[in-house]
Every structure is written in structure tokens, then in C-alpha cells.
């Protein structure tokens, strides 16, 4: 399956780019990620616990950041083996574009593929699942960069920057 989406992030393109390469950001943003090691240059090893329809599994796999053109393009590629549950592979082609000062448009095209028991039991719901995973990843990413998108909080006080933005700008 394939899906596309985009969102505007309230941060400079350089900060968004740096966040995409940050191990701690990735670990925080990959839904169900319990462990992540490695680096952007050498690739990451990740452990992800996820439930796809009726199948709950621990996926061990690799995440690689390829085709990097700083600060505008990269590909996130993940391959996970879930033992008896089968496997799940996925990738996102990410494009960054400066919209105006302090705002960056993040566009992604996601492709996901499952095999084994996941395909046998979960193919019907895999599109929805992949969309949910992608949405969750980029929402968390947006939050990590620009802070929680809570309207009540927005009204009460000036929006606080996200933890990654605070860290890199302080």
C-alpha cells in the first residue's frame, strides 16, 4: 500500500532536518519502539512492539536513513521481523521545504508491506494500520519539534517549543 500526506511544522528547516536524524527523536516517534541503538550514518537497530489486528508481536529490525540531500530529502526505511507473526517492511520518502521564516512543510510518501501471519490475518486492516502508524509517527515528530498541539494550552499561554527544539535552540 502507499499513502501520502504533508504537514507544516513550526520550526526552521534546519531544526526539522536535524530532528529527523536524531536517534532519540526517532525512538520517541516510532510507535511502540522500546529500544533503539545506532546512528543516522550507520543505521539504527530497533525493537518495536505492535499489535496489528489480532496479531501482537515484537519486531526486531533495522531502520536506515538513505538518499539524504541536506536539508530537503531523505528516505526512512525500516525492516522488522516478528518471528511467528511474519514481517513488516516500510519506508517513507520525506521532503522538507521552507514555507516561510520559521515554518517547514514536511511531505511524506509511505509504503508498507507485510508478510507471513500478518498478511494472512491482517491484510484487510493493514492499510488503515499503516496510515495510523505514519500519522502517529509524524504527529509525534511534530510534537517533538514544536511542542504539544493542545488548544487549551495555546489559549492559556504562549506555546512552548517542543523538547527537541528547546534542546537545540537553548
Amino acid at each position: 500500500m502507499k499513502l501520502n500526506d504533508s504537514r507544516t511544522i513550526n520550526a526552521d528547516i534546519g531544526i526539522v532536518w536535524a530532528a529527523l536524524l536524531d536517534k532519540n527523536v526517532l525512538q520517541a516517534c516510532v510507535p511502540g519502539c522500546t529500544e533503539m541503538s545506532g546512528s543516522a550514518d550507520e543505521g539504527f537497530e530497533a525493537t518495536v512492539v505492535q499489535k496489528v489486528g489480532p496479531v501482537k508481536a515484537t519486531f526486531k529490525g533495522a531502520v536506515a536513513l538513505n538518499d539524504r540531500v541536506e536539508p530537503t530529502n531523505l528516505t526512512i526505511k525500516g525492516e522488522g521481523k516478528g518471528g511467528a507473526a511474519g514481517f513488516a517492511n516500510g519506508g517513507a520518502v520525506v521532503t522538507l521545504e521552507k514555507v516561510e521564516a520559521g515554518f517547514t512543510q514536511l511531505t511524506y510518501e509511505v509504503e508498507a508491506k507485510v508478510g507471513g501471519k500478518l498478511a494472512q490475518l491482517g491484510s484487510r486492516i493493514i492499510d488503515g494500520f499503516a496510515k495510523k502508524m505514519a500519522d502517529e509517527f509524524f504527529s509525534r515528530f511534530q510534537e517533538a519539534v514544536e511542542g504539544p498541539a493542545d488548544p487549551a494550552e495555546d489559549a492559556a499561554e504562549a506555546k512552548k517549543p517542543g523538547w527537541f527544539k528547546r534542546m537545540v535552540t537553548s
Binding site: G83, G116, A119, Q120, S123
Partner: protein, 787 residues
Amino acid sequence: MPKDNGIGASSKRREDVRFLTGAGRYTDDINIHGQAYAHFVRSDVAHGTINGIDASAAEAMPGVLKVFTATDFEGVGGIPCGWQVTDRHGEPMQEPKHPVLAEGKVRHVGDPIAVVVAESLGQARDAAEALEIDISELPAVMDMKDALTEGAAKVHDDLTSNLCYDWGFVEENREAVDDAINGAHHVTTLELRNNRLVANPMEPRVAVGDYSAADDEHTLYTTSQNPHVIRLLMGAFVLGIPEHKLRVVAPDVGGGFGAKIYHYAEEAFCTFAAKALRRPVKWTSSRSEAFMSDAHGRDHVTKIELAMDEQGKFLAIRTDTHANMGAYLSTFAPSIPTWLHGTLMAGNYTTPLIYVNVKAVFTNTVPVDAYRGAGRPEATFQLERVVDKAAREMGIDPIELRRRNFITEFPYATPVAVEYDTGDYNATMDKLLEISDHSGFEVRAAESKANGKLRGFGIAHYIEACGIAPSNLVGQLGARAGLYESATVRVNATGSISVFTGSHSHGQGHETTFAQVVAEMIGIDEGQVDIVHGDTSKTPMGMGTYGSRSLAVGGSAMVRATEKIINKARKIAAHLMEAAEADIELKDGQFTVAGTDKSVAWGDVTLAAYVPHNYPLEDIEPGLEETAFYDPANFTYPSGAYGCEVEVDPETGKVKVLGFAAADDFGNVVNPMIVEGQVQGGLAQGIGQALLENCAYDQDGQLISASYMDYAMPRADDLPMFTVDHSCVTPCTHNPLGVKGCGEAGAIGSPPALVNAVIDALQRGGHDVKHIDMPLSPDRVWTAMNG
């Protein structure tokens, strides 16, 4: 008055008492002291190279006895194929090796790579998670036509291509058929797919292997339709165990539908591992495993052309089929799209010229083999669909068009090599129109229309070849086995009888029907007769149950053996009554001397046979036990007319089956209730294929309909009340019971009737839809209606 005993009585199925009260003894009920458990590790990619398997971590896990891989099976044969098809050019089919466990490559999702044997099933499963299997995925070969293009990826690297065979039948007629089609008044063409199905017997497959070192004897308990065939294939071709050291037991089996005919890797594995480990080894399939390891059915892509003259008389038929073999050749796979399909292409019609071309193709999918009907449903579906389309194109009523072309004189030799011995197709058609209230259809259609629904009526007339099969004939056609059947009738001293049959019952009710036949012949109560089957150590060499053959072939063997018993018993009775043998009559279990009041009872004669104090020992041996092997002279040809009435909701495309009527000619009927049950079950499966079931793969070869969430089995509320009739009887002319077989008919005749009904409904509703591929899901019907 209906009979309450013997042939023609609707005796209640005696086996149902144990099945319905949980007292059946299925293979999974067999647990042997010290048994270990096997868990199969299967490929989750469709096609790939195995780079390496590291079992060290798995073997160190608690309870693990051993992890088996292909290296343990070096020196062991592959799973054999039981039928060799010769292609159009006189060359044998391409026959790849089918290893017990994958060697070097995996070729379908579910292909077994390794087996973990442990003290418990949980331990085996846990250890499987620790198995390191390194596979590089290869492009999956999925589409049959793409698979045959130059440069396509190959399922088997050592074969020249993915083509198993290119079969032409009858090859000599090829040009004549082309000429007839080119010169015809009208040619109707239809392209269709016969959807891939999974058999889904209620009981999944199970195998328990046991080995006795004391006498070097192997025993395999397995969910099989033919234990002797498994013994022969596994003993002689895979494991090299002589038959006298190998016992195969198929106890109560909960449904087969073809999927339990074949010899499977799991059977060979459990037998092999039991000796290797000196422990009984058990494997029980999960439902998920069944979807990806039981042989699938159907999966033909076909183009059929029907040529006619001005009056709609059929002149020629040409069909072109791609038949999916899957990744390996299952036991009888090559015979299904050829001899069980091509020979039926005449149907009930006098078409003088027929040419059938079948290209069998390897793909990265589960092997495909016989499934209820096996080849005959594929033949019937395309023929009865194209006849219906032709009727519409010619402006002739579909019933009338069929009648104009019916074979009416018998015996009838078809242009596709078979000879129908008997039948009356107009009689079954008449009966169908009567029992389906066809004359009232227009009124019902108007009612539906008033309710905003589209009602349609569809008809199909089928023929099938059952009672498989004359051994010398099938031998010429490539079968690597004979297809006779056997029976031993053992009369006990007190007159009760044990019949040992080579047929195998896995739901058909043989224990009841067969007892009725023997009881009728002797004139004793059915309760005096027991049927024993499913154990190679008990029954004579038999070929098992499939192809609606059990009563026609197995029953005939039983009749022959019982005739021998009666002949001998008459000699004993003649001696006891001091009369001439020629004057002895047997009726209602009494031997009498014709024209006198002298008689002896059955029990007196049987006792004399085993206590031969007053006995003609100079003429005959003591004892009363006879065996017969029966090899049929021809196939049997059941036929029937099926009618289906549907209502389509134009808003949603949902099809509701409102009525289904079946008028069958099965020849003589031994147990009408069992016959009706068989027809009803077949109809449910045929309607399941037409409306609901579909085995789907994605383009990467992932099996995406591998649970009951995605594979829609027919349920009671998908089906109407069936109207089933078998009062049209033209007895088979060449077997002693005059029976034809009823097991597959329902699944053969119903899919085209249903699809014809839906097309009729749509056409009546003003939608010019000519064909929809099965299953007719609301999505497909709605899409067809809305272009």
C-alpha cells in the same frame, strides 16, 4: 411403504451417534505414551533463497529434542506425484522435486523449512522463535500468463520454464475444430476465472508417527481419505519402508473434500522423526497452517468458444485453460485439469467436435489439486456459462437451447474419449422445472420488481464421470496407480458380519450404507453387519474414497465378495438339507429348498462353516470369509438439472439465494437420506464458491485470505432451503448395484446455475452484464452493474 431396512431405506447414519456425542476417535484423539510434538517453521515469503539456518539457539531451548532441516532428509526421496501427463508433443510433463523440507529455496508462503520437535507443543513453538533463518526474497511468480513469458522468474531453477505441460485433447481434432469455428453461423466466446478455493474440512490435518524398534515397524496415524495410497507413496517413494513394516491408520476423519487424498510432507516427517528420535511424534495443523499447507482447489483461467448453426445446434467447442499447479505437484494435481476436465467438455450435449488446450503452470503458491468435483466443476462451469450466454446471443430460451442439443441415445461416445452408458437429460430437466415451480417464476419476478429488487432464474445441466476408474484405462492416461477397490466379507460363526473395505469414510456414511447393501443381499438385519475401514493392517489393499467412487467401486467389490459368501453358504445349506445346490434359495436370511418347507437359517449355516462336524469337507473349506477386488469397466455418469433463483439488491449488489432445486439422476439409490445429505453439502460448497469463497494472494505472493475473517465460508443463513430430488433413475449399466455416485454433484452443478441466475436478474433489470467472475460479492456485482 418406504423400506426400513436394506437397500432403499433411509436408515439413520449409525456413525452419527459417536460423532454427535463426542465419542468419535479422530487422529488428534490419539496420544501415545512418550509422544513429542512437532512444530513446522514455514516460509513467510513466497519465493526466496535460503542462505542459511542456524538452529543452535533453538536446540538449546528447554524441552527441544531436535530441530530438523533439509539436511536431515538427504537420502530421502521427495514427495511423489501420482500421475504423469504427456503433453501435446508426446513429451512427459516437467516434474520438479518436492522435498519434505525446503532445500535451497522456499517456493510458497507456508513451504516448510524446518521442524522443531520438543517435549511440549509450547516448547516447540517457543524454540521456533529462536531459529535463525536467513532468506533472500526473490520475485514471486504469481500470474500464470506472466509466468510463461520469456525471461520470467522461475519457480524451479532446474526446469526449462514454469510450464508443467501444454496438453491438447483431442489433439487430432485441433484443426477440424478450428475450421468448424471459423465457418460457423455464430460463435459465443466467454473468458472466465474459476476461483481458487481452500477445502476447509472441519477437522484440520493431523499426523502421529510411531516406531517400534522391537519389530522395526512404523505406524502412521493420519487424517487421510486413502491410507493404503499413503502407505504405498510414503513407503516406496519417500522413506523406503517396505509395506509389511509400515501401517497407516486413518481413523475417524472429519471431512476431506479432496484435500486429504494427497501424501503430505507432515506425514512423511512424523514417520521419519519417530524412528530418528525413538519417540512418537505428533503434529496437529492449526487452522492458519491449513490455509497455507492443505492443497488448494480450482484456479483455472479459461477462454471457451462455442460454435453454433442457425438453429443453435452446437457444432464445435474450443477451450483454452491455464491451470495453476502451485509451487509443487501435489499427488494427483496433473490429472485434474486434463483427464478429469477435458473428458467432460461434451457435457450433456451432442457437440461433435471438441478441442481442449490446458497449460499447467507453476507459481509461487500452495499446490493445487482435486477439490470436491475436481476438474468436472471447472468443465461444467465454463460449458454451462457459455451455453447460457449463447442462448442470450441467439435469442433462444436457455432451457430450449439445452434441449435442442441434449444427447438422447445411449450408449453415447463423446468426441472427448468417454462413453456415457445411460441417462435421460430431458427427464431431469422436466423434473427440475416441476420442483422449482418454474412456471410461477414470472409472478415472483414481478413481486421482486415491485419491491425494488431484481429476481433471476438460472439453470445448469451437468454430467460428471464418477466411479473412478478402470485401471487399464487410467494407466494409459498416466496414472501411476490402479483404481480398483477391495472388500473382505468376514462372516462370524454366529452369523454377524464384519466387512473390511478399501473405501474410506470421512463423513459419507459408509458404515450405514454399506451395511444396508450386505444386509439386503443376505436378508438379515443391518445391525448384524459392521463396516471396518481406514487401517492398512485390517483391510485389503484399497484405493480409498474420492471421485464419488465408494459405492460404485467399493460397493461393487463388497457385492462380489458377498456373492462369493452366498455361493459358499448355499453349498453348506444344500449339504445340511441334503438337497441339490441348484434348488437352494436364500430369502430373508433363510435357505430353503425350492418347492419344499425345508429350511435352515443363516446362523445355522454360518455356525456349520466354523464348527464343521456335519460339513462337505471334501468339497469346500471350513470358514466363511471372502475377498473381492472390483475394477470398474467404465466410469459412471451421474447427471442432473439444477435451478437457482436469486434476488439482487440493485442498491448494494448483494445477492440473496432464494431457492435452489436439484434434480439428479444418480442411478439406483441405497440410502435416500444420505444421498440428500450429500447433495445438500455439495450445494452448500458450490454456492460457497459462487458467492463467497475466494483464496486470494497479493502480487508478492502473500496469502491474504488465510483465516475465516477473510475467507468467507458459507453459513446457514447464506443458503436457502434446498429442494432435492433423485427420482429420475437410469441405473448404471455396468456395476452390480446400478449406482452412479452422488458425492460431488452438488458442488459441480451449482456454481453455473447461481451465476446464470444472477446474470439473468441483472439482464432483466436492464443491466447488460454478460459475466462476473466468482465469487459474486456485492462489490463485484455492484461494480458490474454500474460499469
